[in-house]
Structures are given as C-alpha cells and as structure tokens.
C-alpha cells in the first residue's frame, strides 16, 4: 500500500483529490449516519433490544427483506433477458424501449406507487385480470414485490448491458466450434462473465428496495403484522415523536443492508478471482 501511494502517477493531484474525496464522504455520508448511531445510543441497550425485537418490527423485517430479495431476484432474471434483447438484436423501437428502462429512476416514487396501485387494485386494468383468476396483488405482499421489482428494474439492466456489449462474440463461436450446445455456451461461457455484473445489479436493486417507502406505502395495504414494511414502521415511530425508537430500527436496517452488500461484494470478488485463475 505504501509503495502504491509513493508511486508517481501519470495523473497529478492524487493528494488533494484523495483529501477532497474523504472530506466529501465525511460531510455527505459519515456524519449524517453517525448521527443515527448517536441518537440510537440514547436509548440504552435494553430498550433498544425491546424496540427492535417486538413482534411487529420482526414481522416487518421479514417482509422487507423477503420482498426486497424476491424483487431483486426477479430483476436479475428478467433484467438479464431485457438487456440481452437490447444488446443482441436490432428491431424497430429499440431506442424507445431502451429509454423506458430508465423511467423508474426518473419517476417520483409516489407517482410510481399511485400508478401501480391504480393498475393493480381490484378495479384496475391488471388487478381485475389477475383477480379473475383468483390472484390478489394490491394490498398484499405480492403488491409490494411488484412495486419493488418496478423500481429495481434499471439497476440490473444497466449493470449487465455494457458487459454484454463488450462480450467477445468469438468466444461463443469458439465454444460452438468446440461442440458446445446452446445452453452449454450460455451456462459455461456467457454466464460466468456476466456474473459479477448481475451480482452488482442485484445488490443495487436489493439495497434500493430495502429503503423504498414512497411507492410501497400506496400498494402495500399497511396492515400490521401482514403488510407493514420496515420504513413505514420507522415513520410510525416518528409520528409518535419516538426519535430514538425510529433510529433504533433504522440502525438495524443499516447494519443488515451493509452485511448483505458486503456478502455480495465478496461473492463478486470471489467469482472475479476464479475467472482470472
């Protein structure tokens, strides 16, 4: 490390740039987040534990992590397909579809929530269709998954797209020449190369879904123990002026998300390493 720092870079200004980066991160990320821990610390260990282990909070953790995970997984599968189609084929309207992908980024989440609820409620276009085959979506955990899938879509597509574009066609051709079947080429040649990108897409979609509030509250139904997401419980605590309780739940969320991202990062590193080897 020391060696690396002392090395003369072609680009000047490493020192000031690093200094600025650290300063910037401290102001924008570290100080606000440390406030979270400070506020939580006012609670004391026993009431902290009591807050975060109450059945309602536990139920919301299960729901938030479960639906976020499912939604991110759905996005990995379908995001890959979408990216594949956009990179590999030429068809009319491709540019427009490519732009549509970013829409969930640009839309205010509340607007997304209202639009989704309108479409998926029992009287909505999609909701009534699904309702006729006995599937209730709005105001159930299924509705939450739909909302989270919606907001997470761009992450996977945008993560995979550039990698797919850079993918050497010759490798696939070589695989085919060597007698690999189509699915073998996909599983053994293409997928390992895409894996890191898919993982980072998954991680970003998952992290975004965990924190999502605006779009979910409209479609969730918010019934305690059944369809209450963790961010809603945090708001509920704030509404009772229970700042410390709210930050306690937030702290658990923060640590859990950090752990998830860390694991995903390691997985990515591991798969990258394996490829290099």
């Amino acid at each position: 490390m020391k060696l690396l720092l002392k090395q003369k870079s072609v680009l000047p200004g490493f020192g000031p740039a690093l200094g600025f980066t650290l300063f910037y991160l401290t102001i924008i990320v570290l100080i606000p987040i440390s406030m979270l821990f400070l506020k939580t610390a006012t609670l004391g260990w026993s009431s902290f534990w009591e807050t975060v282990s109450s059945p309602r909070v536990i139920a919301s953790f299960g729901l938030s992590f479960g639906t976020s995970f499912t939604a991110a997984l759905i996005n990995v599968i379908f995001g890959l397909i979408v990216a594949w189609v956009l990179v590999r084929y030429r068809f009319p309207g491709k540019k427009i579809i490519d732009m549509l992908i970013d829409l969930p980024f640009a839309l205010p989440t509340a607007v997304a929530g209202i639009a989704l609820t309108t479409a998926f409620s029992e009287r909505g276009l999609l909701g009534s269709l699904l309702g006729s085959i006995g599937i209730k979506t709005a105001f159930t955990p299924l509705g939450i998954i739909i909302a989270l899938t919606f907001i997470g879509l761009p992450f996977v597509v945008r993560a995979v797209q550039p990698v797919l574009e850079d993918l050497d066609k010759e490798m696939e051709e070589a695989a085919v020449c060597l007698g690999a079947r189509r699915w073998q080429t996909f599983v053994h040649v293409i997928l390992p190369i895409l894996f890191p990108a898919l993982m980072s897409g998954f991680a970003m979609a998952f992290a975004r879904a965990l924190g999502e509030y605006g779009s979910v509250v409209f479609i969730a139904g918010n019934i305690p123990m059944k369809s209450e997401i963790t961010p809603l419980l945090i708001i509920t605590k704030l509404e009772q002026y229970d700042y410390a309780g709210a930050t306690a739940i937030a702290t658990v969320m923060l640590i859990a998300s950090f752990a998830c991202l860390f694991i995903i990062n390691r997985l990515q590193w591991w798969s990258h390493h394996r490829q290099e080897a």
Binding site: T118, G124, I223, E239, Q240
Partner: protein, 324 residues
C-alpha cells in the same frame, strides 16, 4: 438625516408570518390569509403576508421542533402541539387555555361517505362491523385524522355497551377486521375510496366528505351522519419562541384571534369547518347536520392520555392486531 429617519418610522411596516398547518386546510388558509392581510392593513396600516406550509400534522410538528420558524401552528390535533411544547419548549405547556374554546376556533366531526344510494345500507357505527362491509380508514398510528376516526368509533362503542371496555375492544377489533387497506394518511384513504373504488364506506372528517362530494359529483357519493360522533377540534397556537425572536407577536396574535371573528368564522364555514360563533352557525345550519357530539376531554381525558392508551406501541390499537 433626522427627517429621513422620521419619514421611515412613519412608513408602514412589513410583516411576514409563517403558518405551519396540516394537509386539508390549504384552501381555508389561502382565503383567511388574504382576508386577514386586508383587515390588518385597514386597522394598522401595516402590510402582512402570511406564508403557508402544509403536510401531515405530525410531520409538520416535527419540522417546527427541528427549527422551522413558524409564527403560528394550526394542526390537526392538540397532541402535536403538546409535542412542540414538550420536546422543544417553544411554547408554554398551558397553551391550550390561551385562546377560547381550547384554542380550536373551528371544529369538524367524523362522518361516513358511502356510495350512491347507500347499497350496503350503512346508517350508524354498528353497520360497519357487519360481515361483508368493507371499511376504509387510515392508519391511526401514522395519521392524525385517522386517530379522530378511531376515537369516534371507540366513543360510540363505549356508549353503546355502557362503558364496558372489553366489549368496546371487541367492537373495534371487528371494525378493523373489515378494513382492507390502512393508508398512511387521511387523504390517501380518501383516494382509495373515491378514486380506486375500494370499500363500501369511508370514515372521514366532515369537511373532507363534503369536499369529496363537491369535487366528484353528487351522483356518486352520499354522506351518512352517524347517531353519535366525536367533536374534532383542530387547535391553533402561537409559537412564543419564534414570535419573540421575529418580533411578530402582536400581529401573530391578531391573526389567530381573527379566526374567531365573524369574518374568520364565515370563511371557516365556507370551507366546511363547523364555526364556533352562534350567529355564523345559524347562518350555515343547513350545511352541517345535527349529530350528537362528544369531546375528547369528556371521554378520553384529553389527547395525551388518549395517545398513550390507544396509539402508543403496544397500546389498544396495536392489541387489535393481536400483539401486546
């Protein structure tokens, strides 16, 4: 130089007030502010502009606690102003006694909005617990408005079962079993009922119900007045710390008192809030059906107590959803 100074002091002063309020009062205060500016100009020659900020009542109170410089707050429930007094000390604890009528210049009540011709024939609170009736109300833990709804139902149950709390709890449990969606805010549940067509009955503030009918047409909804309901008293208060710092106490005080004046009461009635002044009440009598009303002090011993017993974590509302 002396002449110039003299000239300046004789000129009209400009005041800027910030009124931090809750969601459905936007139109009401627009009109009040314009009328008050005119009144104040005529009385003192000074110019006053009142800026408004709207949002969920609890959220607004938190903003004031965190330093939003409100000269006055006009919120949905006394509990939120109590919180400003307790958490931040910006106004004395006995703020509610500083203006007439527990500092609530206008009132409302909780009524039902049903679909045209009332297909499920809903006439009173006990019709809401019938199986097959779908009831829309917001989550009382996140919505101040929904807390009034909840307490209105609870009050009915207490009266009906002769103050038997066990039976009242059972009644509430049955009622909330009929609620398919608990929106986080009162306007959200209005949207669920009115726009999405979900539910047979919406429990809501009277001013919201009348507004919904006015905006969506009489051919779609009807208002049903229950036999008994709660007197919703949205309170107003001066934030002492801010007005002393900004030197706006006199004009802010006059602004709140203006709400009690005949013009102020007229404007409130025009926006479907029930006026306090007998003369104005008589004038708009046909607008507000006669309902037997109880107050939160009578039945629940005030907001702090109601909040603690019903809406705190593990309180009676949480117990409805089966967790202690």
């Amino acid at each position: 130089m002396a002449i110039l100074l003299l000239g300046l002091s004789a000129q009209a002063a400009d005041f800027q007030l910030l009124n931090v309020s809750y969601d459905p009062t936007r139109e009401l205060y627009q009109e009040v502010n314009a009328a008050f500016a005119q009144y104040w100009k005529g009385k003192t020659g000074d110019n006053v502009t009142v800026q408004q900020s709207h949002g969920g009542s609890g959220k607004q109170a938190r903003a004031v606690i965190d330093g939003l410089e409100a000269d006055v707050v006009t919120l949905a429930l006394a509990y939120d102003i109590d919180a400003i007094s307790e958490k931040a000390g910006f106004l004395p604890k006995d703020w509610q006694g500083r203006l007439p009528n527990q500092s609530a210049p206008y009132t409302s009540t909780v009524v039902f909005l049903v679909r045209k011709e009332n297909p499920k024939s809903i006439h009173d609170w006990n019709d809401l617990v019938k199986p097959g009736v779908s009831v829309i109300t917001a989550n009382p833990k996140t919505s101040g408005g929904a807390r009034w709804n909840y307490l209105a139902a609870w009050g009915y149950a207490l009266k009906k079962f002769g103050n038997d709390e066990t039976k009242a709890r059972l009644f509430m449990a049955q009622l909330y079993k009929n609620v398919p969606v608990l929106d986080s805010g009162a306007r959200g549940s209005t949207i669920t009922f009115v726009e999405r067509g979900i539910g047979d009955v919406l429990i809501t503030w009277e001013n919201e119900a009348i507004l919904a009918i006015k905006e969506r047409g009489k051919d779609k909804f009807e208002i049903v007045a229950p036999s008994i309901s709660i007197l919703a008293e949205p309170p107003v208060a001066l934030i002492d710390k801010v007005v002393d710092k900004k030197k706006t106490r006199t004009v802010a005080q006059a602004y709140l008192q203006y709400l009690y004046s005949e013009e102020g009461q007229e404007i409130a009635a025009k926006h479907y809030y029930r006026p306090r002044l007998a003369k104005v009440t008589a004038k708009y009598a046909d607008r507000f059906p006669k309902i037997k009303l109880f107050t939160i002090n009578e039945l629940f011993g005030g907001w702090s107590k109601a909040q603690k017993n019903h809406f705190s974590d593990g309180g009676l509302f949480d117990q409805i959803y089966g967790h202690k």
